[in-house]
Symmetry: C2
Subunit: 336 residues, 2 copies
């Protein structure tokens, strides 16, 4: 642990990813006066950002600061030059995107996950995946959780990051990199709990959307959301035993804003399922994919049917179960 030293002016940071969340993190961290190496896979995208100082595809109106920013298509070079490597790639694309990284490349790096979801290839938590695939030990790993909607972070709207790491020294150092006016941090040691909460909230947002699609509104949403909270608590106690208060932003807070926000992709997916579409039809209509779709499959395959709400979502997504019948089964369970 002791051999990893971070100093504000010297610490070089890699951001791996090109989407809105990566763009927001780059903007924040460069503005905090750190040297950032930003890996952008596609050369045309890179040149476009270099030229326009904006990401033409995500957070299009955000000015990207260049005073200490280097763009590169060379993943290995970006990692080699950096001490802290932040991965901000949607979980289904993580594995294929970073195939060129070798085991030794991440030795003595601080690896930070800004990813919510299981790694879809290995079906592991992101922390487990980096350990399994690259020997990144828990003392060198941190996860950033939220809710931290990219656009709000980029616009410096009041945000509390939760930074979870077994190594508190590292959590504090990541905290220093991210903090500024209106951007605050909570420190946690509950890496797996925070990761599972970030996965489950997408599944529960699909459930909330299904109910809305079936025209079950506020009165039932209150019942369903509190049932989700209880299931979340039971699941975390089982899968990541330990003492935690889930009444914090990375647990219940993230669940609530995801499940209730009409902008949530997962809720929208659920809504369309509730309206009678299949998952495939919903994705065509949405023109995008929701992470809860993958999370649901992996979660139910790994942990079975003991979790009524997660199971319901899985059956509707993957087994063509009828949403109305499934919700009625759930309502029957909620009466006891």
């Amino acid at each position: 642990m002791g051999n990893i030293q971070l100093a504000r002016s010297n610490t070089k940071i890699a951001v791996i990813g090109y989407g809105s969340w990566a763009t927001a993190l780059v903007t924040l961290i460069v503005n905090n006066n750190y040297s950032v190496f930003w890996w952008i896979k596609n050369k045309e995208d890179l040149e476009s950002i270099q030229e326009k100082k904006k990401n033409p595809r995500y957070l299009k109106d955000i000015e990207i600061p260049f005073q200490s920013l280097t763009l590169s298509c060379n993943l290995n070079e970006v990692i080699q030059k950096s001490k802290v490597v932040i991965f901000a790639i949607p979980s289904p694309f993580l594995h294929q995107s970073i195939q060129s990284i070798q085991k030794n490349d991440l030795i003595n790096k601080i690896v930070v996950s800004a990813i919510k979801g299981f790694e879809t290839n290995t079906k592991l938590l992101i922390s487990e995946y980096f350990d399994y695939q690259f020997d990144v030990k828990s003392e060198n790993f941190a996860t950033i959780s939220g809710p931290t909607h990219a656009e709000e972070v980029a616009k410096l709207k009041t945000t509390f990051f939760t930074i979870a790491a077994e190594n508190t020294h590292i959590a504090n150092r990541i905290s220093t990199i991210l903090q500024r006016e209106h951007i605050y941090t909570y420190i946690s040691e509950d890496v797996a709990g925070v990761e599972y909460a970030g996965i489950l909230k997408n599944i529960y947002a699909i459930a909330a959307g299904i109910a809305v699609g079936l025209e079950l509104n506020d009165n039932f949403q209150a019942v369903l959301l509190t049932a989700c909270i209880r299931e979340l608590e039971i699941t975390l106690d089982k899968l990541a035993p330990g003492i935690r208060n889930i009444n914090h932003s990375a647990y219940i807070g993230d669940l609530l804003v995801t499940a209730i926000s009409p902008y949530s992709r997962n809720r929208k997916l659920g809504y369309l399922l509730g309206k009678g579409k299949t998952a495939e039809e919903a994705f065509i209509e949405m023109e995008m994919i929701a992470e809860g779709y993958y999370a649901s499959s992996i979660f139910s395959q790994k942990y079975g049917q003991d979790y009524p709400i997660a199971s319901m979502v899985y059956e509707i997504l993957y087994k063509n179960a009828n949403p109305s019948i499934e919700i009625n089964h759930l309502i029957a369970k909620l009466q006891t």
Copy 2:
């Protein structure tokens, strides 16, 4: 306790109040084949409902069933003829509306509160008020809580009532009166806890609205809502000690839908405060009053400044405190 008998076909029920909530309850209970006596203060309103079979002011599109319904302007007669008396009047108007009731009038009646808030004249919980004012003992009292938005109940959208009573026999009987397809009930013995939760959620909805008015959006809402949940739990433990799981619809569930719904009057009031209006200006703009306005004053006068979020709302509503400065104080507290 034993002398109060309820049988489905014979039980006569009074509903006291004329607003949307009273209208929904009357519709539900008449459709459940009970004889209902509905007290409507104003003779013209009564005649209008009698003629049109709809309430011209609230839930205007709901057909009111008349097969076992009697309307009356005579409060004492309505109560005299009934065994169960359901009060569904906004808390600020309760005391003045029922001045003609004498102490003896409610002896041997089952009194049901469908009211959220303190009685504003005595500053008591509704259960305490009926005891103080009319000698209604806890064994004859029940409170109905929710969330139970009137329009959803009237349209038989899936709803779980929470019926809290120290006397479980009475809770079960009220449950029988209200249940039907899509309308379910939870039984609770936590009368005071449910009443306080129904009061506090309106105060916290104002807080959530203030934040939105200050353009603090999803990322901060997650932090604020979880802080409200923690404050709710602490407050209930202090003011109504006992064992409860607040992860149920009458506690956290009701708080969430009230704090997040853009249709919530309390949230709207907070929003306008956040935008720099005074409470008086907000009420003029809204053309109505929010119950959290009264609740905040009574709560803070009775219980002091130990509850940071409730105190913040009180200072902004009644002491002209600056919302932006107050929220920043709260954010500072939330960092620890």
